[in-house]
């Protein structure tokens, strides 16, 4: 389990590397330190040996053996010297600091002799560095350093009065000094221990620090990502990773969040289109089944109406049957239209009149629920170009919803109409946007405020991605996927053909940043500033030829209100707040109709206080 963790692997790798490095360092350090200590002792021994040699030289020339004995014994007594011996040519110990040895013969193979006597013929000369040797006299004794100093024949020797040495002899004897290495060895061991302690503590501290860093910088964020992925894999697309860092893992987390968001949106879209598809099938079935009985009702009632001209009362009743059956026909048709998103049949019409007709239709329902209907209609309202049947449907839907919200609480519905003027910014939705090669930039898969967004590809140095702009004209909102400030050196491209969308040679008149531009078919060029927060937009054809006249109708009730959490989903098909009572289609159809009239519909609601739907429809040409 532990071996499978990335943090453990990383820590283990780093610790192993450190272990190797410090181990090699410690090894060579100990080696070189022992070597330099030994060299120092060697130098010291050499000096000592030369000192003994020169000290005894005079006595040797005068053949004063007693004085030589005395000198060697005196010097050999020093603590830092093991012993001093002098061999003659034949290997007999003639002087020694240990007087018991004097007169003993030493074999050529003894450790003090074999260096010169290794080859059959003894060496005449021995180089300085070859004179020393390190050895243990017994298996378990401490080490000793021996230095042999050959005593060469010289003129003063063979001319001396004692005539002890002939001229032909090269080496007269050997001075052998041995020094104990016990102190040196102790020093070496001490430094070995120190280095091992250093190495172990360094490795321990390093692994602790590395382990902590790996845990903090890698293990934890990776673990969080892993948890998030498990959540998402399990279908919880609302899960987000908390991002509070700027490194690659932070970027990964941000990208992951963006991906999850897109995925959630795509799923919602799929879900919605799936619902729409089943709605379409349902509508087709319903249309066929309902239209046949409706044909009989409508044909007979309209036939009766024709025949009963002159009987005012019957005529009026039949007129209601005929017009209501026609309304049924339009409802069935609007079901089909909603699924197929066909265009409305628009004529000039008086909105007040449409409201009146709608009110007439549900008068009875309101009376039954003891709901008061208050109308405050502006008599000077301009005529609007609308599909009267569809707009009537909108008002009926809203009034039925209002009366359902009031329930049995004896509330009231207030309908007000007035003419208003609106600036195109924030009202007009860009429904098609073309690049220079006429690819549509509107991406139906991504929605901002439930409107298909305008998508552009950006490239800035190493960063690239898709920007989604809010399609409302004048809106400054855009959704970016991890990107730095847009202003300079940025390329904006059509996602389909990579044509540049930057307006060449033009700068924002407000902040002099570069601007983007795209074409709306038959409605000219839309331009906008790239600087985040500037918000400059221009749509010449709309700005100059905009008819700012709108008709606003407000349908307000003092019913139960809609919880805030349900407001964003209100206009989705099959989203109902009425439980089993509703189909969840009313507001979806309403939204579709208003949108098809280039109008807007908004909600203001407070639980326990009431709900207002505000519809704004352009008066049009």
């Amino acid at each position: 389990m532990l071996g499978r963790k990335i943090g453990f692997k990383l820590t283990f790798g780093v610790v192993l590397t450190v272990l190797l490095a410090i181990g090699i360092f410690a090894f060579f350090n100990i080696q070189s330190e022992s070597k330099s200590l030994l060299t120092e002792v060697e130098r010291h021994a050499n000096q000592l040996s030369e000192a003994v040699k020169s000290d005894t030289e005079y006595d040797m020339l005068h053949n004063d053996r007693e004085r030589i004995h005395e000198s060697i014994r005196r010097i050999g007594k020093q603590e830092s010297i093991d012993r001093i011996r002098v061999f003659n040519k034949s290997g007999e110990i003639i002087y020694s600091s240990d007087s018991t040895e004097i007169g003993k013969m030493v074999d050529k193979k003894a450790e003090s002799c074999y260096r010169c006597h290794l080859a059959g013929k003894p060496l005449d000369r021995l180089e300085k560095q070859e004179r020393t040797r390190v050895f243990r006299p017994y298996q378990d004794s401490s080490r000793l350093l021996g230095i042999i100093n050959p005593i060469y024949n010289s003129r003063s020797c063979w001319t001396a009065a004692c005539h002890a040495h002939p001229q032909t002899q090269t080496v007269l004897g050997v001075l052998d000094v041995t020094i104990p290495l016990i102190e040196v060895d102790r020093n070496i061991r001490r430094s070995q221990v120190a280095i091992v302690i250093f190495a172990v503590s360094a490795i321990l501290i390093l692994s602790l620090i590395v382990g902590f860093m790996v845990r903090w910088w890698i293990d934890r964020p990776v673990k969080e990502l892993l948890t998030a992925m498990t959540h998402v894999a399990g279908g919880n697309l609302a899960h987000r990773v908390e991002v509070n860092r700027d490194d690659e893992l932070g970027m990964l987390a941000r990208s992951f969040n963006n991906m999850t968001e897109s995925l959630a949106q795509a799923r919602l879209q799929l879900f919605q289109s799936d619902k729409l598809a089943s709605l379409g099938r349902l509508a087709a079935g319903v249309a066929h089944e309902i239209n046949n009985p409706l044909t009989a009702v409508l044909t007979y009632s309209s036939y009766l109406l024709k025949r009963s001209q002159g009987q005012a009362e019957t005529c009026d009743d039949l007129q209601v049957i005929v017009s209501e059956t026609i309304r049924c026909r339009e409802i069935v048709k609007s079901l089909l239209d909603f699924a197929r998103q066909t265009v409305p049949k628009k004529r000039k019409a008086d909105v007040n009149e449409i409201i009146g007709r709608a009110a007439l239709v549900i008068e009875n329902q309101l009376a039954l629920g003891r709901v008061r209907l208050v109308m405050d209609l502006d008599a000077t309202l301009p005529k609007v170009t609308v599909d009267a049947n569809q707009i009537q449907q909108v008002f009926i839907n809203l009034m039925v919803n209002a009366s359902d919200a009031i329930g049995e609480n004896n509330g009231s519905i207030e309908i007000t109409s007035k003419a208003i003027s609106l600036h195109p910014k924030g009202v007009l939705q860009i429904k098609r946007a073309l690049c220079r090669k006429r690819h549509d930039l509107v991406d139906r898969r991504v929605q901002i405020d439930s409107k298909p967004a305008i998508s552009m590809r950006f490239r800035k140095k190493k960063h690239s991605g898709i920007i989604h702009l809010n399609p409302m004209y004048g809106s400054d909102e855009h959704r970016l996927n991890d990107m730095p400030a847009l202003e300079e050196d940025v390329e904006l491209l059509c996602p389909d053909c990579s044509t540049s969308l930057i307006a060449e040679g033009e700068l924002c008149p407000k902040c002099s940043s570069p601007i983007y531009a795209f074409e709306v078919p038959l409605k000219g060029l839309v331009q906008g500033c790239l600087h985040n927060g500037c918000g400059w937009h221009r749509w010449e054809q709309v700005d100059s030829g905009w008819n700012d006249e709108f008709v606003e109708v407000r349908v307000a009730d003092d019913g139960c209100g809609i919880p805030k959490s349900q407001v964003p989903k209100l206009f989705e098909p099959f989203a109902t707040t009425k439980g089993q009572k509703g189909t969840g289609l009313g507001l979806a159809v309403t939204w579709g109709i208003v949108d098809n009239h280039n109008g807007t519909i908004t909600v203001e609601s407070e639980v326990g206080v009431g709900t207002s739907f505000i519809i704004r429809i352009p008066v049009g040409s």
Binding site: A287, T299, K346
Partner: protein, 262 residues
Amino acid sequence: MSLAQDILVIDDEPMVTQAVVKVCRAEGMTVTAVDSACRALRCLQENKFRLVLCDIMMHELDGFQFIEELVRRGIQTPVVMMTGYSTVEIAVKSLSATGVVDYISKPFTADELLTVILRSLRCSMLLDEAESVCLPSNGSMSYVPCPADYYRFGYVSWVLMEDEGTARIGVSDLFLRAAEGIRGFELSVPGEELVQGTPCAVAISMDGSAHGIMCPMGGKILEANVDAQSTPSVVEKDPYFRGWLYRILPPNPESDLRWLSL
């Protein structure tokens, strides 16, 4: 000819055929009702009818198979298609089929039904006359057919493709004559989007009936003929040139043209 009945109505829903029979008989027409296309074929073999009113969604033989069978058997009685599953595709397919003179979607009022039936009866009469007279040189043609290069949408409307990618659309002379005397036109406004197979304008005849003119090609209205609106006689006298209705910008004329004939 005097022995011929006026109408044969086919629908597998008895409530519908009964209603149609009642309305038509009240207007003095002779009507036979059958509940399947197979029975209708037998009826047509034995009797003569001036018009067939046929439902589309039926068991056994559906409306489209029925008209194919008529063509195979050489029966030239004009057909009005009706359906409760009224989609643009079905409307377009119906109107462009051989032998079909008109289309009506269910449910309809008695007046709407009568308007379509009376217009179709006159249309069938005009077509008959044109075939029997067959003397183009004497100028007594009962109606003026579409000029060459004009695409025809059934017997209702026409399209003329223009060089700039725009198209001019209008109503056929046969339709106007069958509607008998137009009092005025209700046209849509420029900027609106037209869809092939849906009514794009309404012609009001002298008796006050509203005749929906089915749009031959979809697209955005660039211009509506103001002359047609102010002086409807322009359209009646010269329906193919000065009497055009709209100039439109079709987004994909090729797919719409498949349903039209030259």
